[in-house]
């Protein structure tokens, strides 16, 4: 058994005993979770299990009532706001694809690019050859080079999801939180998204929240099942889906 201190030395994200309640309802109930560098992790759980609230806590949108949220062993995320946390290297994809619809695909990526984000730095920013190359590279990764001048509003649902993932890549995060990336996607798009996420996870940690069991099987990674705000089971997909508690709480329904 690892002691906590041993786990902490190599963790990218470390949640210990985190709780938060809204008007008396415990959305997260002494949740503990460790994500290691370079790990691809799937999180499943029934509606209301606290998956999105957990992401809100990690990204600074919601402050936990109690508990520790530590990034890279040293940084206490509970003291930071969204912009700080994003700059530290945590990117977040929302459940509903959120891109800048009145900008082109290219501009969306340019805005997301990990450059100085101050008022005056952006006022006087000019696109360098290096930034251009990086955007082209991301366009290839998310397979959208041919649509780079298209307004994001004209993209299909699946393409918006990819564009958003591309924007997160442009942010160069160390940890990517992805909330239901394949909701509303066709089967072909779902399979391609699995490939894309595995590719991304080669160079950074990714946490995926998903309902689609087939998709998680495709990913073939360690799974954490949440229920009622805490961890119910953790392990391979076969291990977790055979756990009687998981079947009772989630799969059996």
């Amino acid at each position: 058994m690892n002691t906590i201190s041993e786990t902490r030395t190599k963790s990218l994200l470390y949640l210990e005993d985190v709780s938060v309640s809204f008007d008396g309802f415990k959305a997260i109930n002494s949740l503990s979770l460790v994500v290691e560098p370079g790990e691809l992790r799937a999180i499943i759980g029934p509606n209301g299990a606290g998956k999105t609230t957990m992401m809100d806590i990690i990204t600074g949108k919601t402050r936990p009532d109690t508990g520790k949220v530590i990034f890279e062993d040293t940084i206490d995320l509970t003291k930071k706001d969204e912009a700080d946390i994003a700059q530290l290297g945590i990117g977040r994809k929302f459940q509903k694809p959120t891109v800048f619809e009145s900008h082109t695909v290219w501009d969306n990526l340019e805005l997301a690019l990990n450059r100085s984000r101050g008022v005056f730095a952006t006022l006087f920013y000019t696109l360098t050859a290096e930034d251009k190359a990086r955007i082209e590279e991301i366009l290839v990764t998310i397979r959208m080079t041919h649509r780079k001048n298209e307004y994001a509003a004209n993209l299909s649902h699946g393409q918006k999801q990819w564009l958003e993932i591309g924007m997160l890549l442009a942010q160069e995060p160390k940890l990517l939180l992805v909330d239901e990336p394949v909701a509303g996607m066709t089967d072909a798009e779902t399979a391609e998204t699995a490939v894309l996420l595995r590719e991304i996870a080669k160079t950074r940690s990714v946490v995926v929240v998903e309902h689609d069991m087939g998709f998680i099987r495709d990913l073939g990674v360690k799974v954490t099942c949440l229920a009622e705000g805490s961890v119910l089971a953790e392990g391979s997909i076969d291990f977790v889906s055979n756990d009687p508690k998981v079947i009772e709480n989630y799969l059996g329904r």
């Binding site: 984000r117 008022v119 006087f124 000019t126």
Partner: protein
């Protein structure tokens, strides 16, 4: 860096608009001063004064467009910044009166003598100097916007709530400026101006220069606004308008972005107010009236928000309409204004310029699609032949 910033601003439409404004700045005063009053080309002084007023309103509408059209902050209190700029100019003009006032006091404006004040309040110091007063035209509205925005944007006050507190801000200022002991002339405001920089305010030449300055300042502010909106910062602004949380989670400090834009916009409004006051000859607390700020929103919406040119056209058109209506059918003006706002919201939600632009882009897209279609047909033909050959 700076040149790149400015050069980026000079895209087609802006160049045309700036060119027109500069031509107006030269032609209108020339036609007013150099032609005989009975000439067909003559522009009477009252018409020039009216046009100068419209240009100031156009600058105010441009200021609102920057925060509303690009950043999504619907300010219902922009009239306050306009009025503060106007008061700063008015204070300079009051100090220029000197001993020519009714009471002949060399330091105190008439209304202070009337109130039995013995010495100039501290906040009137320095306003006898033109450069100081002009700095205040920018600083006072800018500072108010900064303090107001600092609290509002930091506490993430958004949407309707923000609109309501901006409205409350201008209303509170109106009530304050109505009080005599505020030291700004109470409900009479500041008036009876004599000279500006040693020239008589009412003289034809001075009026012509003030008119030209209004057109030039509008052109300058248009270039600055265009430089801001064409930069990466401008793209972030539109991002804040359309998907604020996405901008936040990309690591931008949304509150700073809004604050900067709000302050720049307030300064534009202040400049507009400062140019307005010597041309109309009075500034009083009525300029803070909430209804004025709402009218600015109507001009901007009519012209097309988020287009920069639109609000300028909207402000000029609606005010020209107002001048006509209030002369011809005075009792119907407010109905016409209300009707116009409803009609624009229902039938031209993008405003005049926005609708034209949209139509233009749609036509371009259609043409491009047609061209692509043709290209595909041409490309597809050989493959069909190849397929046949393969068979």
């Amino acid at each position: 860096m700076i040149t790149g910033f400015i050069l980026r601003a000079l895209e087609g439409k802006i160049v045309v608009a700036v060119g027109i404004l500069l031509a107006v700045a030269i032609l209108v005063p020339a036609l007013n001063l150099l032609t005989a009053p009975d000439s067909a080309l003559h522009i009477p002084t009252y018409v020039m004064a009216l046009m100068g007023k419209y240009l100031c309103y156009a600058l105010l509408a441009l200021a609102l467009d920057l925060v509303w059209g690009y950043c999504g902050i619907l300010s219902l209190g922009h009239g306050a910044f306009f009025a503060l700029g106007g008061y700063a100019m008015g204070m300079y003009l009051m100090r220029q009166i000197g001993s020519r006032g009714v009471y002949g006091n060399p330091d105190l404006p008439d209304f202070m003598v009337f109130l039995n004040w013995k010495e100039l309040p501290w906040f009137w110091y320095g306003f006898d100097m033109f450069p100081f007063a002009m700095a205040m035209v920018l600083i006072v509205p800018g500072l108010l916007a900064f303090v107001f925005g600092w609290f509002a944007f930091r506490s993430r006050v958004n949407g309707v709530y923000l609109s309501i507190i901006t409205q409350a801000m201008t209303y509170a200022l109106m009530l304050a400026f109505f009080r005599n002991d505020m030291g700004f002339g109470g409900n009479n405001g500041l008036t009876d101006f004599k000279d500006i920089l040693g020239f008589q305010v009412q003289a034809g030449g001075t009026r012509a220069v003030l008119f030209a300055m209004s057109a030039i300042m509008l052109a300058l502010c248009l270039i600055v606004a265009s430089a801001i909106t064409c930069s990466k910062f401008g793209k972030v602004l539109v991002g804040v308008r359309d998907a604020e949380s996405r901008v936040r989670f990309l690591g931008f400090r949304v509150e700073n972005i809004k604050l900067f834009t709000f302050v720049v916009s307030a300064m534009f409004a202040g400049i507009a107010g400062a140019l307005f006051v010597p041309q109309v000859g009075i500034i009083n607390p009525g300029e803070f009236a909430p209804a004025n700020s709402i009218e600015v929103v109507v001009w901007t919406a009519v012209g097309g928000r988020g287009t920069l040119i639109g609000p300028i056209i909207g402000a000029i058109l609606v005010n020209a309409g107002k001048s006509y209506f209030t002369g011809a059918f005075p009792e119907f003006w407010l109905f016409a204004l209300g009707g116009l706002f409803i009609a624009v919201t229902l039938f031209l939600p993008k405003g005049i310029v926005g609708t034209i632009q949209h139509g233009w882009n749609a036509r371009k897209a259609l043409k491009a699609a047609a061209a692509a279609e043709k290209g595909r047909d041409a490309g597809a033909a050989p493959t069909a032949q190849q397929a046949q050959a393969a068979e």
